[in-house]
């Protein structure tokens, strides 16, 4: 005979998602973790465009970036960020500049562009609701940007840390993968938003804009 008693523990009785998760986990032999990919669907920033042709160099270390991590008693987790980066930076720069050109080698950009942006991901971290005892999946992405001039000289580099979170309660019974994916998407959007508002304030960028576009700092 199997007997279960719930005393004052309404939560355990009512939290159907938790019950379902237990059943699903039991059915799957207790395996955990998740594997998600960020969909390449991003808006174009609505800002005053910088009247310059801009180069964009995306390294394979960025476009193939996958964060994999094994968490104690939570299995293996994987976030594929790289496959969305091309569209993300294409949309970002096409909203910020007059025109955007792919550049194979930032040290030799050719005469077409006023500068070349080289983004890279230097670190990714994430947390699960179980770790933080909350309802939220959270993702942090640390980017590192380099700006090359029209002659291929490195003008400056700066970091940017983006953050995204997603409430697992918004994603139904099987919330693990969609919530983690939503948190990763939110982090990418945050990176785009942060880059948009921060770009003109980076000292090296301000100097470059003054030289190339005669644009005073804002």
């Amino acid at each position: 005979m199997v007997k279960t008693q719930m005393s004052g523990a309404v939560s355990s009785m009512l939290n159907c998602r938790a019950c379902s998760l237990v059943l699903v986990l039991a059915a799957l032999g207790g395996c955990g973790g998740a594997s998600v990919s960020v969909p390449a669907l991003f808006p174009v920033p609505l800002v005053d465009r910088i009247p310059l042709p801009m180069g964009l160099h995306l390294d394979e270390s960025l476009t193939g970036y996958v964060h994999a991590e094994e968490l104690e008693e939570q299995g293996e987790w994987e976030i594929d960020l790289g496959s969305a980066q091309t569209q993300m930076f294409q949309n970002l720069l096409s909203g910020m500049f007059d025109s955007v050109y792919p550049v194979a080698n930032p040290a030799e950009p050719g005469g077409e562009v006023a500068g070349v942006l080289v983004p890279n991901i230097s670190e990714v971290q994430f947390s699960t609701p179980l770790q933080t005892r909350s309802d939220y999946f959270e993702v942090w992405v640390r980017y590192r940007f380099q700006l090359y001039g029209r002659d291929g000289e490195l003008l400056g580099e700066w970091p940017l840390t983006a953050y995204g979170k997603a409430d697992e309660d918004n994603y139904g019974l099987q919330s693990r993968e969609p919530a983690l994916q939503a948190a990763a998407v939110a982090a990418c959007r945050d990176a785009m938003a942060f880059f948009t508002v921060q770009f003109r304030t980076v000292p090296e960028v301000r100097q470059w804009l003054l030289t190339e576009a005669g644009e005073p700092s804002r």
């Binding site: 199997v2 007997k3 719930m6 309404v10 808006p43 909350s134 945050d190 938003a193």
Partner: protein, 224 residues
């Protein structure tokens, strides 16, 4: 055999559905700061606060419920979907960049690109929704057993849910706070079990949604 029991079964189900909801008490309050009103071509958007790194976010389905309720029924209001709005105005309504106070709005909409996009959406009011629904109390006990001859539960559970939401209405045209509408709802749910548990669920969040949406609708149409 089954067909003979169908009317009784249907009546039983109907009776249960009629009775199977706990009691909900809801109150709505409104503070008007300025006159409102909308034309048929104007629209509103309902947005949730996604402040970081707060762990208290308004439920996504509550915001969708408000949008849907305002966009339906009698005297429907044109409602722009939240995601469509955030994408169209990207990056100005992201968690990092969204205006915190109505007083931030005039500077933001002074950007020609933004003003033009807002005009193309016909946006008249921004409605920021803040709050959530929590379980505040619970008691009782329930025991379930499974044997070779069958299974069953015995006991009684009760729990209370509390909803508290506030909506700020920003007038995009004037760049001012037009007013605030808040909704509180409290409800107690029960689950007696004699072999089979029968939940009597109080629809606290949906009550809060319908009362808040109704009041918001009359607020922006200047009926209340």
């Amino acid at each position: 055999m089954i067909r003979r029991h169908q009317p009784a079964l249907a009546t039983g189900c109907l009776l249960y559905l009629m009775l199977a909801s706990g009691c909900v008490t809801s109150t709505v309050q409104q503070v008007r700061e300025s006159a409102t009103g909308m034309t048929e071509t104007e629209s509103v958007v309902v947005l949730s606060r996604k402040t970081r790194p707060s762990q208290e976010e308004t439920e996504a389905d509550f915001v969708r419920c408000i949008s849907k309720s305002m966009g339906g029924g009698k005297q429907r209001v044109n409602v722009v979907a939240e995601q469509e709005f955030r994408d169209a105005l990207f990056p100005w309504f992201e968690p990092r960049t969204a205006p915190v106070n109505a007083s931030d709005l005039p500077e933001l909409i002074s950007q020609p690109e933004l003003a033009e996009r807002l005009a193309s959406l016909g946006l008249r009011y921004l409605i920021w929704v803040d709050g959530d629904t929590d379980r505040t109390d619970s008691s009782g006990s329930l025991t379930c057993s499974v044997t070779a001859t069958g299974a069953g539960c015995f006991g009684f559970l009760t729990w209370e849910m509390d909803s508290g939401y506030e909506a700020q209405v920003w007038d995009v045209r004037s760049g001012n706070l037009a007013g605030r509408v808040s909704s509180e709802a409290v409800g107690t749910s029960y689950m007696p079990a004699v072999i089979v548990p029968l939940p009597f669920i109080a629809p606290v969040r949906s009550s809060a949604c319908s009362s808040l949406a109704q009041q918001l609708k009359s607020f922006v149409l200047n009926e209340g």
